[in-house]
Symmetry: C2
Subunit: 352 residues, 2 copies
DNA sequence: AATATATGCTTAAACGTTTAAATAATCAAA
DNA sequence: TTTGATTATTTAAACGTTTAAGCATATATT
């Protein structure tokens, strides 16, 4: 790697001090009353030498790296990939760079990412917190590190967050099924102590209760590590499709996909044998026969919102307000034989 | 954000110089013959104050940031997301951090990412080059910046790369179809001047030629920006399914998905009406009726390989060898009514 | 004529590390 | 007793910026 040109190189070539060069290249020549001749010469030299500022040196001096740390469950998951993409785009606009890490839903990994990012002096965090990471988050907040939680939050910590209104999402999905004549509705969720899951289950229960179907409420909790096995068990036990009016609501995409495997395996028809609603869309939902009903999250809005809150925290230097956002879901109703509307040609890049 | 503890804080508390603290905390106490009592005291103080090194300061001094720049087409695309994930994991093991940027297949954006990352003094790059970015890459190489190209490469530049053996992949896919009795095979590709596309098309042509089907060779080039429209046109013109022995090979996943829309729209059956092979797998391919045949890329291997080559370049300080890797594809043969084998429960995280 | 103000530029410290070189003290060998 | 190692520690420069403070010189104001 060749040595890069520094302010010193320009200063020497022009025959002035480093300070002057810095002032000019930062556009402070008026304020600092730099002679117009000198300004020209410095600009010219910078151009000729193709000067690029060393952001590391600047960071050290300024105590601000213009870097954000983002911790998601898994960047290979297109939901998080899309969020990362949106935040990356926003960040770029404001001169920020994003470093992304995947916690794998593991609090130990999450902790180590926080440490690595802190050592790299990131200016703030956007975090998808994992089960068991409550203490970490609390510590960050106590140390006055700018943090925004995304996708999940901890009711017990007073920190900004941007999440889907999961309760409403499940409520709407359940209500939709009930209106459709489905009575025997099962909520299939992860066995996981996170706001997300709890709210997704809560909304379902609320809707069932609201429609007087309390007695037929049924929540199945599946272990993430045994998703296939537990899913098969569920299908064997519940035998949806055997009795009429069965419906399944899957609390996330991984569950829905595992469920769809079982549905295909048992040659069940949607919605006649089992009614279906999943969280998050995707190719598989569009191309299934029939295309499937799902809850769409406003991913773009989530990303932009989280970013702008974080900017507020960072630039408000400690006085940035805590903001808590629950964004609205959209129920994409299908489960019919018709092909889903094709996205327009202009559409690309965003997988949700 | 609270002030963090520095070497100076420890030095003052123990009553020694900063240098000594640095030596000890870097494990150089033997080499530097630091008194064992002092070592203990420094360790203790560091522990008590919960000292964390400032990586920015270290980077400035060491002229090495332990950071890698990764530029992909789109991090929201699970193929790139998976690659990013693998590289992130590898990097972590070696104390590196990865900053990822999405070029959107746009050379201007790619250029600006390169600049941003260079200013942040990344130690090396892993790049998925876009059409028209040849000059940028050439410049990096000339400036002796460690670079590894991933997924695509430029035959005209002598720089390390890790790509799928796309030629073989298409050759195998085409041969498989021909053996299966499909004669009327169309290759559906992007109109794009990248090694990837050219090789994917080339392998198809080679196989057709090899089996004496030169006259029925047919390559359709679709514009990325008008993928839906061009795809519909193709189906209207070619009318696959109208004549027997029709087959379609899609040069990437986006094309395959757009193609599957049309297949469903026209109620064509795979493989009776149209035979099908796509690049890259995914939920949609697994859950389609029937599950679809596709070319699997060894994503994990690609990521690990690219990373290790980059490490060689960085640590070989300029003498690291240029390595060019073409990795082997795997043809996942299906197109039958059977459900695909379910991934094991242990499987998770990797979407390819 | 003395003082104030404006202009144009330089000096030097600071950010938090690493590390070569200097220093000082102890001890062994001549 | 001097010299030479050995051991333990400090000093200070360097990495490339930013920026407060200082210093001339010229011009304007009393």
């Amino acid at each position: 790697m060749q040595k890069r040109v520094s302010l010193r190189d320009i200063a020497e070539r022009v025959g002035v001090s480093i300070a002057l060069v810095s002032y000019v290249l930062n556009g402070r020549e008026k304020e600092m009353r730099v002679g117009s001749e000198v300004v020209k010469k410095i600009r010219k030299a910078a151009e000729e030498l193709n000067y690029q500022p060393n952001q590391i040196a600047r960071s050290l001096r300024m105590q601000s790296t213009k870097t954000l740390g983002m911790i998601v469950a898994d960047i290979a998951n297109p939901f998080f990939g899309s969020l990362a993409r949106i935040i990356e785009n926003e960040a770029m606009k404001f001169g920020y760079t994003v470093v992304v890490g995947s916690s794998d839903e593991n609090p130990v990994q999450s902790e180590s990412l926080v440490t690595v990012f802190m050592n790299r002096q990131v200016d703030g965090f956007i975090i998808t917190p994992t089960e068991g990471s409550e203490q970490q988050i609390r510590q960050l907040v106590e140390n006055q590190v700018p943090v925004v939680l995304l996708d999940r939050y901890f009711p017990g910590i007073d920190v900004s967050h941007v999440v889907l209104d999961n309760r409403k999402a499940s409520f709407d999905a359940t209500t939709h099924m009930i209106r459709h004549g489905t009575r025997n509705i099962t909520m299939v969720a992860y066995r996981q102590n996170l706001s997300q899951m709890e709210d997704r289950i809560g909304g379902y229960e609320e809707a069932m209760h609201h429609h007087g179907l309390n007695s037929s409420k049924h929540v199945v909790k599946i272990r993430k590590e045994h998703i296939r096995k537990d899913m098969r068990n569920m299908f064997d036990t519940l035998a949806p499709g055997k009795r009429s009016g069965s419906g399944l609501i899957f609390a996330n995409k991984a569950l829905a996909l595992a469920g769809l495997y079982c549905i295909r395996q048992r040659s069940l028809k949607v919605p006649d044998d089992v009614d279906f609603v999943g969280y998050d869309g995707g190719e598989a939902f569009d191309l299934f026969s029939p295309p499937l009903t799902y809850i769409r999250q406003p991913v773009t809005q989530m990303g932009k919102c989280a970013f702008s809150i974080l900017m507020g925290l960072i630039n408000g230097n400690g006085k940035g307000e805590v903001r808590k956002e629950w964004l609205l879901p959209e129920l994409i109703i299908r489960n019919t034989g018709d092909l889903p509307a094709q996205p327009d040609d202009e559409f690309h890049g965003m997988y949700y």
